[in-house]
Symmetry: C2
């Protein structure tokens, strides 16, 4: 089986937000598709380890901001490369709120979908949520950011962060996930490691030299 | 709720094939996403009325050909705009077969995924299938056809099939689905009609004058 064959599946890039009691959080995801009409239902897959997933299981409601082609890496980094367990991602950020009172991004975004979970399925690494769309709004007329665009254009190239020239006697100080840029600190990446952000395994990590 | 907001979700375009006993069929779909890793699982949504869906419920196995950017409208038309109940779509067609003996397209296609259904959920208009990927192959190095590409570039423009000039005393002879081009013959489209090919409702149909 060639995992690269699966890279040809097309996805968008989204900011998924939810709120349970006084906890609010959002993360970056790439999986959402409409799965039924009358009523309109969508499916999203979330990594079980993620804080947003933990909150969503309790709240049963979410807002999905569809990021547009002007989306910057700063936005992806803010919501996608840190955990809501460590920081309040919405602190000092003035966002619009949807019909359920959930924050969504009114910038770098072409649509927002508000949904209510009607079923879910635990698939081990991820939970698949089936949700009824309770509201949907067009936010601007820009095209959506696709996951392929994100990889090709928005995500910083490895060479832009470190000099290409190889240093003598270099040491591995960590591993970077080639899929989402998550950084694992340490000289050895465990064989059974999976990225806490995007769920990919060791084969998708590259060593970072200090 | 503005349904157009949902059009900003990004999809690919696929030929989904399956086989049950001596019946083999394939159709065009746009919904597939990876939903879990270790083991790798994908989800697809199929219209319940479709013959491929009927066969898939019995067979539990499918091949998903990921169409590439060179895909022509003829291919879409062959698999997407006629029913396997009326014609044998694979008759006189030499295709490759996957590990389960299912036919897939070796042309205009960048990947093929072979999968085994592990769970399903009937959502009314569609059934959502969760499947374990049992094989995946890269077929070429072309980019995948996205649903947005298909709409913008591959699908014939309405004007290319009928003269733009309006005729006097024109009569409605049918309705065309703006989503998939399905043609409904008749002067009145029922209010509760849904497209047998893509599942969209009357709001996505436009009148065709004879």
């Amino acid at each position: 089986m060639d995992n690269k064959a699966l890279y040809n599946l097309s996805y968008g890039v989204f900011m998924l937000s939810t709120k349970y009691e006084d906890k609010v959080n959002g993360c970056i995801t790439n999986t959402c598709m409409q799965v039924a009409s009358n009523p309109t239902r969508i499916a999203i897959a979330c990594i079980n380890k993620n804080y947003t997933c933990e909150l969503l299981k309790k709240s049963g409601i979410f807002a999905l901001t569809l990021l547009d082609e002007t989306c910057t890496f700063e936005t992806i980094k803010h919501f996608g490369l840190q955990s809501g367990r460590d920081v309040d991602k919405f602190a000092d950020m003035k966002t619009a709120v949807d019909i359920n009172g959930l924050p969504y991004l009114g910038w770098q975004a072409c649509s927002v979908i508000s949904a209510k979970v009607v079923d879910s399925m635990d698939l081990g690494s991820h939970t698949l949520f089936i949700a009824e769309v309770t509201d949907a709004k067009l936010l601007n007329d820009k095209g959506p950011l696709t996951y392929a665009d994100y990889q090709a254009r928005v995500k910083p190239k490895p060479g832009s962060e470190a000099p290409k020239q190889e240093e003598p006697e270099k040491k591995i100080v960590g591993y970077r996930c080639k899929i989402c840029n998550y950084f694992y600190e340490g000289s050895t990446l465990p064989d059974d490691f999976s990225c806490p952000v995007c769920g990919h395994g060791p084969e998708d990590f590259e060593p970072v030299y200090g």
